[in-house]
Structures are given as C-alpha cells and as structure tokens.
C-alpha cells in the first residue's frame, strides 16, 4: 500500500494557497524537505489525494494550523550539541556578565528546549536575574509549551547527559519535578521568558540583543531567504553581540559575514563592527 506522492507543481500550488490566503509564505523554503513533509502528512493523515489536501486547507482552519505545524519541523532537544553550550559558558557568559541588563532572542525556538537550556546556564552563572529571554516561533501552539515548562520525562536521561557534557555540575533532576510522565521545570527559569509568534519571513526586528539563537531553522530556507534573515539578525544584534547557528549552518557565504568573526570552531559568531 503506497501513499500518493505530491508532484512538484502541486507543492507550488499549495505554497501559493498558503501565501495568498493565509499569509504563510513558504516560497523561499528548500523544496526537498518541504516536499517530504507534505508527503509525510498525506501518509500519516491518510489523505486520499492532493485535491483533498487542498480542500481541507481551505475549509478547515484547525487542519491548516496542523499542516503548518507539520511542514515546519519542530523537533528539538535540550543542550543539543552540548559543546556549543560549553563554549557559551566559557566565552559568552563572561561577556554578558559585564552588562547591566541582558537581552537574548531565541528565534525558531520550537517547544522551548533550547530556551530552557540557556536559562539554566544563565541561572548557574547567576545572570538570570538580570536577563530577559525572548522566545519566538512561527507556530503559536508550539511556543505555548514554553509557558507550561513541561517536557517528556523519558527524554531527561539524554538531556542530563547533554547537560553534563556542556559542563553542568549539578544533578540535572534538581531543575524539575517529575509528575505523570512529565518533567515540570522550575518556575524560576521561566520567569524571565517572554514568548511571542514571530515569522522570520515577514516580521521585522523588534529590539536589540546581545545574543541571538537561530539553530536548525536556516537549513529549511534557500540562500535568498537565508541572506534576508541573516540581515535581520545583524540589524537586531548589538555591536559585539553573538549569533548562534545550528551545527551545520554557517554565515560564511552571506553578505554580513565580513562583520562577524567565528568563536573557535563551534557555530558562534561575534559581531565586530
């Protein structure tokens, strides 16, 4: 039993529909992943034809939300690439400590695992009290989880290992209480988090930050959109601020590259002019 596969023209049709009617602009998303996500959705939701998919998008607002959530990949974890967080402890936090007030922006933050990881780092360095962490994503329902501060308990062992690799010295379970298969993270960590929807394609800069995270989002964009978004980050970063990308992403080939230097070999760049 093979599911139907969408054709290239159908992908373009769906993209047009989403852009024109609903203001979700996927025009400059890399096609290989987008096509795979649409095929996956069709299989999982047992959609019999492409026409049926379009029909649902047009007539069922909940389905539209579901579709956008599924085609934008929300997979994440705490202390993903632990060595990046180690370098943040060693090279970024000491700089932040010299500021009276710290502003951090996590873009494309998904369900917030990365945001909580950073909050833990700040708390351990006694910097959380003077920080504000903005956590934004395209999907409203995904970021709701950040305010709840609840994550699946069965992931904690791996997160705990990541935490230790990042240089964490505490017992990881001291950051949460376990209840009904979930880990509820300490209230204190989320007090300094502000969540909002923000679409990197269409929304503008809204503040100046000392650190911007944008990890594993650019891989879904084509070069044109990548350059546009990197410009947005440049506009939203203070001089000497840090930009942190995913482990396989780079700003090397973008026009803003000349204003930045890489911090060691991890994917952290510092704005020097």
């Amino acid at each position: 039993m093979e599911a139907i596969l969408v054709k290239d023209e159908e992908v373009e049709l769906l993209i047009n529909e989403l852009a024109q009617r609903y203001g979700y602009d996927f025009t400059n998303y890399a096609r290989a992943s987008l096509r795979r996500r649409i095929n996956r959705l069709i299989t999982i939701d047992r959609i019999p034809s492409f026409a049926e998919l379009i029909y649902r998008v047009k007539n069922d607002a909940d389905y539209l939300t579901h579709l956008v959530e599924e085609i934008t990949v929300n997979v994440t974890e705490m202390f993903r690439d632990p060595f990046v967080f180690k370098l943040i402890r060693e090279k970024v936090l000491p700089v932040l400590a010299t500021h009276p007030f710290i502003r951090i922006w996590h873009t494309g933050c998904a369900t917030g695992e990365e945001v909580y990881s950073m909050a833990i780092l700040l708390e351990e360095a006694n910097l959380l009290r003077k920080s504000l962490i903005y956590a934004t994503d395209l999907n409203p329902s995904v970021i709701e989880n950040i305010q709840r501060g609840i994550f699946p308990l069965n992931r904690m062992q791996q997160y705990s290992e990541n935490y230790v690799l990042s240089g964490g010295k505490k017992d990881f379970s001291s950051f949460y209480t376990a209840q009904y298969g979930f880990a509820k993270f300490n209230q204190k960590l989320k007090d300094k988090m502000i969540t909002a929807t923000h679409n990197l394609v269409s929304d503008r800069s809204f503040n100046e930050f000392q650190v911007i995270f944008c990890r594993n989002v650019l891989i879904y964009f084509d070069k044109v959109l990548q350059d546009k978004v990197l410009k947005l980050f440049d506009d939203s970063l203070e001089k000497l601020g840090f930009l942190i990308l995913g482990s396989k992403e780079s700003l090397r080939f973008s026009p803003i590259a000349k204003k930045f230097v890489q911090v060691e070999k991890e994917k952290i760049w510092r704005k020097i002019e």
């Binding site: 890399a30 290989a32 992943s33 795979r36 690439d81 632990p82 891989i219 396989k248």
Partner: protein, 193 residues
C-alpha cells in the same frame, strides 16, 4: 545493467549500520572516483561532536572527504558523509540539503530518507549500496532506487557482519547484484575504470 545503452552514473550512495565500516573503508580505498561521480556515505552513529568518521575515511582516499553542511554543493570526485543527527536530502543534482526532523527507523541520518530522495532526483543515474546492519533502515529506500531505474547492490547477508539489514532488503526487492564485500569493491572499480 543495460548493456545496449550506456548509463551515466553520477552519484553512488552507500548505506550501512553495525558492521559496515570495514566494507565502507574497502570501497573507498579502491574507488576510482573521477570527474563524473560523487560518493555519499550514510552510516548510523552516535553524535560525538567530532568528525572521526570523516577523518578515518580520509586516510583511505586521495579524494576530498567532507561532512555535509547546509546546502553543500555536490562536486564529483568528492566523498560526502551524512552528519550525525541530520537527514540528508537532495535539493537537486547539484545541492544537498539537511533536515533535522524525526528519526526514521530509529535513525537520523536515515538511509531510507536519503535513498528515497536520491531516487527522486537522480533516478537511473544513481547507484545504491546497502551493507551490514542490525536495523531495517534502507530496505524501503533501495527498492525505490530500483523502481526509479537506478542500479542496486545489496551486500550478501552471508558475508555481512550483521545480516539483518541486507536480509530485510532482499525480502522486499531483487537487487541488480548481491555481492560480498570484496566483490562490491571490485565491481565498482571495474565500473569506473
């Protein structure tokens, strides 16, 4: 392989898991990669933040060995390694793209994911090789390559350190060749002479 017509193979993809490293090193060691063909290696492994696999493979070939980065250009005569924790897709014949979505067959990178994308983009210009492993990843993907007209090789389960993965493939499809590890290397060497 069609004898009456010359097919130009542009990309060779090798997928493997437990017990496949020896074979991969053997293949890389003899492969006379030329201006026309690139090699992609997809092996299941843990994310240790290092590129040990790439370093190891580099010692066996004079060709450039690279762990794939976002939107990496595909150059012939290069050996590409799927990075830990990302699926590798083909944006087109000249460009890889990466995807950090859910694991497939408990794996990321997943061999199925790359093979399916390879089938869509390269069709009959692809060669897919599935090696030793303890997981069913790759079986579905290599069937897709076959359907799309690509050339398929499955390691003889008898010769595989762990026979489950090639066995699964053979239950789903009939590859163009079933070969042991030395034969795979030899066959490719001949093909690209």
């Amino acid at each position: 392989m069609a004898q009456d017509r010359v097919i130009k193979y542009k990309l060779i993809a090798v997928g493997g898991s437990a017990g496949s490293l020896e074979v991969i090193l053997k293949i890389v060691g003899v492969l006379p990669l030329n201006e026309d063909v690139a090699l992609l290696i997809i092996v299941h492994r843990k994310n240790d933040g290092e590129s040990i696999l790439a370093d190891l493979i580099s010692t066996r070939t004079k060709f450039v060995v690279k762990e794939i980065e976002d939107k990496e250009t595909i150059l012939s005569g290069h050996v590409y390694i799927a990075p830990a924790d990302y699926h590798v897709l083909f944006e087109n014949e000249k460009m890889f793209s990466l995807d950090s979505s859910e694991k497939v067959n408990h794996s990321r990178p997943s061999i199925d994911v790359s093979f399916e994308s390879l089938a869509e983009v390269f069709g009959e210009n692809a060669i897919a090789i599935l090696l030793s492993g303890a997981n069913a990843d790759g079986a579905h993907g290599i069937s897709k390559i076959k359907q799309a007209g690509g050339f398929t090789i499955v390691q003889d389960p008898e010769s595989a350190e762990v026979d489950f993965m090639p066995q699964q493939a053979l239950e789903q499809m009939k590859p163009d060749k079933i070969l042991n590890s030395a034969e795979i290397a030899g066959f490719l060497q001949q093909l690209f002479q």
